[in-house]
Amino acid sequence: MADPISLEVITATETAVKEEIHELYIPAYYGEAGILADHLPFISILKFGEISYRDVKGENHYLYIENGFMEVRDNRIIIISDLTIRGEDLDPGDIDFAMKEINKKINSASDGEITVTELEDAILEQKKLKAKSEIIKKVNIK
């Protein structure tokens, strides 16, 4: 087995994850990236979406993150993000509710009730919610 990679996920108020892992999948700037042991030094901006990683025991974990940075170097990954939520902490009820609200808003666009920027924001929000519900599905399967 390859050497373990140490992973740290940090937000402004806490260290959300500090673990030894084997592999990591992450929404990097130019699309999803996978990080395995002995990866080249790499710095990327992260958008929003799902981070998944397999820890040394072989268990899969899922996180939702928004806006951040990642540095990979010498089998060590540091992720700094504005928002990090563990998959287990996502509430399906809340997300369903928010999804309904946002769909209503997007549908109202055809009536010309909201501005273009509002619509763009709403669509972005919808994508984020979709990413969150995907994570919930995966956590439940696990």
């Binding site: 937000t11 402004a12 108020t13 260290t15 700037y29 710095i43």
Partner: protein, 290 residues
Amino acid sequence: MSGNLIDLRRRISTVKNTRKITKAMKTVSAVKLRKSVTEINRSKPILEKLEYLISQVGKSTEFRKSPLMKKREDGETIIVAISADKGLCGSFNSNLAKEAELYYQKVIEDGGNPSFITVGKKVNNYLTKKDLKIRKNFPDFMIKLKFADSKELTEYLKEIFLEEEIKEIKFVFTAFRSSSKQEIADRSLFPISLDFSGEEESEEVEYIFEPEPGEILDLLLPRFINSIVFHTMLESSASEHAARMIAMELATQNASEMIHNLTLTMNKLRQASITNELLEIITATEALTN
């Protein structure tokens, strides 16, 4: 005589009530202090990591001068003074306000043009009375400090630095060294000064950047500033709780001492009145037998 006794009893019970309150306030401050210290420790990693990342990205790129790093020869100097919103914390607020005022005078002496932005009601009250120039006050941030609040302050500071002719923005706050030691310090925010030349690394690391290093840096800097502001406010908040805890501890001790003295006086008075009554009775009986 008996009137005096009743007065004393009343005073003792009043002081006892006050002692209960100061004791409770001390306990509350102790809990809040512990919470603040945990928050400081939790927010430290991001500050270190951001600084490290900025230095890594900064080294690997033709360092683009961000407008946030622009140095100006003249213009306004803004002093952000952070105090508490509430009193009863010893000399915490007054020390800070005085220091902020000294700082203001110093800028004037150096031929600068200072003005204040205040966080917390207490320092605002003091500086308003002194009739110094205050651009804006942010009250009620320190009662329950949240990251969103510090972000609001950061955004405001960033905006004025970018849009107006401002030489520098500096914090004057109470730095938290330990529970028993806090001291007033200043911390420069804008223009951001970063020194990459200092740390020579033995091996140069060739990173893959996604996207361009310059673009990454433009996103890193605002977060770095946010973290500095939040950390500074956290420190001030922890210092406030520590100061209040000590002030309340002293108040409790004083109250205990006062109760002790008052009780002593009361006992003496009571004894005196008993002796007096006894004397009267004895004199009366003697007069009767005679």
